[in-house]
């Protein structure tokens, strides 16, 4: 049986451009007869967040740290679950309402590992990866505040199973 290495089976991308869910699904499943489950999550820019009348977002990041942080999160997921491939994409720069912002896809033999690992990666991405959102509204701009709810979601994973 083929043994996957971490390098070839984890794809991390920080990009201004949009992404294709179909292409990521292909990356997760091509030539993978041992894959029985694929879970994907896509985050989008919502119309209502902290304030009404949002027209878009600006995403800033810490270039030298971002990929390192995402790599570490995916490695932690690989240690915790028996998963096969991972794709993480995060967009930066200017985004409009209804644009896609983030993608996490995980493949595994059985659904449980893929479901859990995808959620774990998103929960850690939201609380550790160095991205910051600024909301652009018709009346001005403001930096989005971090939410307690996201910290709680991550804390859930540090409890013993």
């Amino acid at each position: 049986m083929r043994k996957y290495t971490n390098i070839e089976n984890v794809k991390i991308s920080i990009q201004e451009n949009d992404f294709s869910i179909e292409k990521e699904h292909y990356f997760l499943t091509n030539h993978a007869p041992e894959t029985g489950a694929v879970v994907t999550f896509t985050g989008r820019v919502r119309e209502f967040s902290e304030q009404p009348d949002i027209t878009g977002l600006f995403l800033e990041h810490y270039p030298s740290m971002t990929e390192k942080s995402l790599k570490r999160i995916t490695q932690q997921a690989q240690q915790r679950w028996d998963i096969q491939r991972i794709s993480v994409i995060h967009r930066i720069g200017s985004l409009a309402v209804e644009d896609q912002i983030v993608f996490v896809g995980v493949s595994s033999a059985h659904r449980e590992a893929a479901f859990e690992a995808a959620r774990y990666i998103m929960d850690y991405l939201k609380t550790e990866a160095p991205f910051w959102k600024k909301e652009i509204t018709r009346s001005g701009e403001h930096w989005v505040e971090a939410r307690e709810k996201d910290q709680a979601a991550r804390a859930h994973w540090s409890n013993p199973d």
């Binding site: 995403l59 390192k68 995060h90 983030v102 939201k126 160095p130 910051w132």
Partner: protein
């Protein structure tokens, strides 16, 4: 002297991408935080322990972490990606 990088709201409110802090090394993250608070006294809330996170060599770290001359140090708001 250590160069401290800033991001997002901290960068914007100080209008600085980085600041060269005059501090003896090695020192701790906590000592750097205290120096930043006195240096930017009118913006001290930006560096409060409840707000600003610190990364050393691109990894989130705690207040006791020891910092030396060649380390890359950054202070930034709680992250809000995803």
């Amino acid at each position: 002297m250590i160069r401290i990088y800033f991001f997002a709201k901290i960068k914007e409110e100080l209008s600085l991408d980085y600041f060269d802090l005059d501090i003896k090394t090695p020192c701790t993250v906590f000592e750097i935080r205290k120096s930043l608070i006195s240096e930017f006294n009118t913006h001290k809330k930006l560096f409060s322990i409840d707000y600003a996170r610190c990364a050393v060599n691109q990894e989130l770290t705690d207040e006791n972490k020891s910092i030396d001359l060649n380390d890359e140090v950054a202070f930034f708001p709680p992250v809000t990606g995803g």
